[in-house]
Each structure stands twice: as C-alpha cells, then as structure tokens.
C-alpha cells in the first residue's frame, strides 16, 4: 500500500549523525496527576508527598513512562507518525522528583540518528536530562522510515 508511509522522512535522505530537533519539557505535579489518570497508574509515589518522604525522596517522582513518552515524542514529531517507532527501550538511572510548587522541573531531550539499519529502519539514540543529571538513556530506538 503506497499510502502507508506518507509523511515519514525518506530513508535514503536521512544521514547517520542527523540530530533531531530537541525539546525541553516542563513537568509539574498536575502533569503527573493527568498522566497517572490517562495511564491508569495510581501509584502514590507519583502524587503523594507522604509516600515520597517515607522513602527519602524530596517529592513525588515523575512516572518513568511519562519521561519515556516525552522523549519519544521528539522522534514521532520528526517521523510524523507514532506508528514509525517500532522497537525501543530505556533505563532510568535516576528519578525525577517533581515538587508541587507551581513551577515544576525541566526535562530536556536530545535525539540523534546513530545508525542506518536495513531499509527502512534507522536507529536513534535519545538522551534525557533533568536537573543536570541523566534521567533516561534510550540508546536503541528503531524507527521505520519511508
């Protein structure tokens, strides 16, 4: 079906080393509440100050999967299609504490095409930083191009 890959970047035109447009996201406590509701994740560590304090955290923490989803949106915005991301994963080396201060925290995402695989796939490496620390590493995100 020739319609299938409308809008995705062309494999032939994408070079190894291409840096995608990075983004800085601001995440506030209300965003954790909204994500938890949408994802049906009601774990108290993501909204309750007492739970956080009980395990020595300064505040409730962002869902790792929220951080991963924000990171991938940099890739899907580039690819134009959420269906282009076919294989991915990551490690959360550090939690992202989100104070209820009306300001929130910044999460910055950078992504680079690091390898051209068998057409139409490329491998993208994504790095996610917050508060000067790496909070998510995603070295192997496979994106199916056109």
């Amino acid at each position: 079906m020739t319609m299938q890959l409308v809008g995705r970047p062309s494999y032939d035109e994408v070079e190894r080393g291409l840096r995608l447009a990075g983004r800085v996201f601001t995440v506030q406590r209300k965003d954790l509440i909204q994500y938890g509701g949408a994802a049906c994740d009601y774990n108290t560590i993501h909204w309750d100050d007492r739970t956080a304090a009980a395990i020595g955290l300064p505040s409730p923490i962002a869902h790792g999967m929220l951080t991963m989803a924000l990171a991938l949106s940099v890739v899907t915005d580039w690819a134009g299609d959420p269906g282009a991301v076919v294989d991915f994963g990551g490690r959360f080396p550090r939690v992202v504490a989100v104070p209820n201060d009306g300001v929130g925290v910044e999460i910055s995402v950078e992504a680079t095409v690091v390898e051209k695989l068998e057409p139409p796939n490329v491998r993208v490496s994504i790095s996610v930083m917050s508060g000067g620390s790496r909070v998510l590493t995603m070295p192997r995100t496979i994106v199916a191009l056109r």
């Binding site: 890959l5 999967m65 924000l70 899907t76 959420p82 269906g83 076919v86």
Partner: protein, 154 residues
C-alpha cells in the same frame, strides 16, 4: 526480604480482553502534550495508511502494567511494593496499537535476582489481539531497594 524464587518462569493466563478506546488514546496523547493528528483523528490516521487512530508508542504500558499487577501485587511474591522503582522498560512492536483493538496480555516472570542487596524482578508481557495476532512484547525490570537505601544511591 528475598523474593519467592518459585515465581521464576511462571506464565500467567491471558488477561481478559481490553478494548482500546478512541477517547482513551486521545486522553493519553493529551497527557503527553502530543498533538500528532494520527493519534486523534481517523482521517489523519488513514492518510498515513492506518485503518484507525494510532496510540502513542508507550500506550502499551496501560495494558501491561495492569497485567503485571498479577505478579507484583501477589503477597506471596514478597515484593516490598513501597520501595519499588522502575529501572528498565522495553517494547518491541509487530504493529501499532489502534483504536478498537481488542487485546489480551500474557505475563511471564523472566527473572528474579538479587543485585547488591536489591531485589530485581524482570517480567515480559506479550500483547496480542483476541484473534492471536502479535502486537507488542514489553519487558519491565523493577527494583525493590533494600531498606536503608535511598532511591538516589546508585
């Protein structure tokens, strides 16, 4: 507390069918600030060759996390749920999750280990349509920190 080793290798029965709602996909995209029309509008999805609206790539977690609760919240496993942190997560898709898919999840316990005094639980969740088509396999690694260690101690 060490985890109950007899859980290693367990495979759970497929979960009850979950129908992926169009509005659930839109709500999920809203929560991410994701404006992609392919996740909102069926005409945009069709223009990209998809028969229905396509969920953002991490959407499978909505199903797999619930399914993994069968293991994680089983009191006989011995996981200290109050100290659990998500360490790793992987997804491999055969095809995207779409609105109106009816999906089941089959959870397997791939690993139960102790690393540096912390309990490490590795689960895989296979997502299929009720017709049996493979959609996605998710692998989750959860760590329960030993008492006395803070989540920032690495």
């Amino acid at each position: 507390m060490p985890l109950n080793q007899t859980f290693r290798g367990r495979v759970y029965p497929a979960t009850a069918p979950y129908e992926v709602g169009l509005e659930k996909i839109r709500e999920f995209a809203d929560a991410l600030g994701d404006k992609n029309p392919v996740s909102r509008d069926v005409e945009a999805a069709k223009a990209h060759g998809h028969p229905e609206v396509v969920a953002p790539p991490t959407f499978a977690i909505v199903l797999t996390m619930r399914a993994e609760g069968q293991v994680v919240f089983d009191p006989t496993l011995g996981l200290d749920i109050g100290r659990v942190l998500h360490r790793d997560q992987k997804f491999r898709y055969s095809r995207s999750i779409r609105a109106h898919d009816v999906l089941t999840v089959t959870v397997s316990v791939d690993g139960i280990d102790e690393v540096g005094g912390n309990d490490v639980l590795t689960l895989s969740s296979e997502v299929r349509t009720v017709e049996g088509e493979h959609v996605c396999t998710a692998t989750s690694t959860l760590v329960s920190r030993a008492a006395g260690r803070e989540p920032h101690d690495d």
